[in-house]
């Protein structure tokens, strides 16, 4: 296996970041831990104190089934892209629904990243989220952006059918598929085919890779996007082939340039705001409903909804500041 190129801390950055303040890793680490634990009320209190957020760093999402190789590929991609910019990577792993605990193992696949100053990797647990992301993901991404990264990578939980949520949070969505796993059909069922900006056929040294590429291209050509839209490329990757990772990186650059030329940032920002509001309300409602005793359900459904709507106002009324 060829050695992975690593960014030397001494290399001056080609643009901007050389003058950026040094990353306060300890401060950011603590801040993200506090944010991940923040209640809906704390999130709102924080928002009330914060200046309006303007997204700066481009966001790239990696999604795909468990075992598709997202972590390994994401790690390689992050190392490569950190040669030219300061990169922050958020990697989400599933929480146990029984105890709420989690083993966050994405890092094991990213051994080389810990020595790179320009790269910051953070593991997150999906907790109560069932959409491949994590509670307060909007706030966590904003905190990462505010820390001065020039690019953010987001790796979802591998669940296979529900990761479309990542599409609402990133600029470039990369769908990682592997030959012979049947996850291509799952992705089609889940509508991921329409939401991916780049298709990756990973582990492309395995049998069936060429066939999978042909199948994806077949679907893309059968249902071509309008000429004004981006036509997703299909990239073959194998982590033992550094050139293939570079090819994926180049495809991401092309998509980013296309986005910049087709000024639709406002639309993406609106999508993010919708997602943020919806996930906040969903979490608050889920917490309230699970705390209800059996008596509550004696009332009619109409009354249940009315009572809950009133409690929702009360629940959101008290704002408490976020503890450090």
């Amino acid at each position: 296996m060829p050695p992975v190129t690593t960014a030397s801390d001494q290399t001056p950055l080609p643009f901007g970041a050389a003058s950026a303040p040094t990353l306060d890793r300890r401060g950011l680490g603590r801040r993200l831990s506090a944010l991940a634990n923040a209640s809906t009320a704390e999130v709102m209190a924080l928002d009330a104190q914060s200046p309006p957020y303007r997204p700066l760093a481009p966001r790239i999402g990696l999604t795909g089934s468990p075992g598709a190789g997202k972590s390994t590929l994401g790690g390689r991609l992050a190392v490569l892209r950190s040669l030219q910019r300061r990169v922050g990577l958020l990697a989400i792993d599933p929480s146990s629904p029984l105890t709420g605990g989690a083993i966050l193992g994405d890092r094991i696949r990213m051994d080389e990243v810990a020595g790179i100053e320009r790269l910051y990797v953070r593991s997150l647990a999906s907790r109560t989220s069932a959409d491949g992301l994590a509670p307060n993901i909007s706030e966590l991404l904003v905190a990462m952006d505010s820390a001065g990264f020039e690019e953010l990578l987001l790796e979802t939980v591998g669940v296979g059918q529900v990761e479309h949520a990542v599409h609402h949070q990133v600029d470039t969505a990369v769908l990682v598929l592997v030959p012979g796993a049947g996850d291509y059909v799952q992705a089609m069922k889940a509508g991921m085919m329409e939401l991916a900006d780049i298709f990756v056929v990973n582990k492309s040294d395995l049998a069936g890779a060429a066939q999978l590429v042909t199948e994806i291209q077949g679907v893309l050509h059968a249902f071509p996007p309008p000429a004004t839209c981006w036509l997703p490329p299909v990239v073959r990757t194998s982590v033992s082939d550094a050139d293939s990772v570079a090819e994926l990186s180049a495809a991401i650059d092309r998509h980013q340039s296309w986005l910049n030329a087709h000024n639709n940032a406002a639309q993406r920002q609106l999508q993010r705001q919708r997602y943020r509001l919806r996930s906040l309300l969903e979490r608050q409602l889920a917490e309230m409903v699970s705390a209800l005793g059996p008596d509550f359900f004696q009332a009619s459904l109409h009354q249940q909804v009315q009572t809950l709507a009133k409690s929702l106002q009360v629940g959101f009324g008290s704002l408490s500041p976020l503890k450090p």
Binding site: T99, G100, G101, R107, A114
Partner: protein
């Protein structure tokens, strides 16, 4: 419905480490991590979010991961006999990075005679392999809550 109730009540009872982030790390050269993995699972079952490093990591690496991941505690699993040197290195790296407040715990083959020295370095808990998992979890929960 019954299942859901059982799930909720059992998770409440056992989740003494909920919301805590703990790094389980293997410094040094010994090649056995079954103990580290069992501890990682026990902590997860108690509700903690556990980051596991894998084998043979340097003190520098462990401190960097602990800081980036914003953990509350680092558990070092050491079976090689070099615990005093390895713990010193990790504690020093954490302090240099302004993260001396991250609590350090040690598990593995740690002779009684070395406990005082490790505690003097700031180690909050020492867990040997004969200790029941519930006791380890309880002791960690007490130290972190």
């Amino acid at each position: 419905m019954k299942i859901a109730e059982k799930t909720e009540s059992s998770s409440r009872a056992e989740s003494s480490l909920r919301g805590r982030r703990i790094l389980v790390a293997k410094p040094g050269l010994d090649g056995h991590d079954i103990g580290a993995k069992i501890i990682a699972l026990a902590l997860r079952n108690a509700g903690a979010e556990v980051i596991y490093t894998g084998l043979r990591k340097s003190a520098q690496y462990i401190a960097r991961v602990a800081i980036d991941e914003g953990v509350d505690a680092v558990g070092l699993s050491i079976l090689s006999g070099s615990h005093c040197e390895l713990v010193t290195q990790v504690v020093e790296r954490l302090q240099e990075a302004g993260a001396g407040d991250i609590q350090v715990f040690v598990g593995g083959t740690i002779p009684e005679a070395d406990h005082a020295q490790l505690q003097a370095m700031g180690v909050r808990g020492i867990y040997t392999s004969d200790m029941p998992l519930e006791r380890v979890v309880r002791s960690l929960a007490q130290a972190l809550n």
